[in-house]
Symmetry: C2
Amino acid sequence: MGIIRKTKSLELLLKEFQNEKNAISVIDLIERLNSKLNKTTIYRVLEKLEEDGVLHSILSNRGTKWYARCNGCSESNHNDLHPHFECSNCGKIDCLNIEFQIPIIPNRNVRSSQILFQGKCEACF
Amino acid sequence: MGIIRKTKSLELLLKEFQNEKNAISVIDLIERLNSKLNKTTIYRVLEKLEEDGVLHSILSNRGTKWYARCNGCSESNHNDLHPHFECSNCGKIDCLNIEFQIPIIPNRNVRSSQILFQGKCEACF
DNA sequence: GTTTATGCAAATTCTTTGCAATACT
DNA sequence: AGTATTGCAAAGAATTTGCATAAAC
């Protein structure tokens, strides 16, 4: 149960996401905060922020983890089901501001989804 | 350019997929063929079968690779864009026989997609 | 003072590479 | 014979674990 403590790590990580509404890869965060935070700490804080509904995670096509800010999620209600777009050229991952309707699948109850499109992004287009 | 040779590895791997229309994880294949094939070979043959349009790959929620038989793909035409369903209980990945319409996204040309739903599968439901 | 977070080193998991030996046509 | 495939060992990338130290409440 997460009483979040105000730590340096938390502050530094949140700052990275304040200026970025799209996704940032863990690899990138480790590099950026290299001199200030240990990578283990980064993994752990991100995990906690996801649990608490502050960030959501995305898996890239290569299988690496990315995180982006949530919009209207909380600890009890995770509703960030929007699709993402990965640029096949520069590798950047964007959140798509698109409604996505989860289909009804017989005999299965869909709880969550990962929708990732690939192609060239706006900058590389 | 793939002139596919009839090798023991190819035969053994294809046999695994003949009886299974859903996805099989690479980890699982390595285990199954443990005594007969080297894991490196397995990775390489699967990669080739994907290039040739015989199999398609799926990334699980954990970032591990799975493969499943294609339906009507060829070396030049990969059209296996159906969604997949990963069971949050047993981990199995199924191909969903559902039409999926790729949305039109402004300023981006979508080339491919990965659609993965999660929840309980038919058996675990 | 007690609980939670951090850093470090090492372990784990999955996948890829290099290269010599072997199998296929 | 010539080219593609295989096995093995080792390297690589990303992530996780254990534990002693430090910071937050």
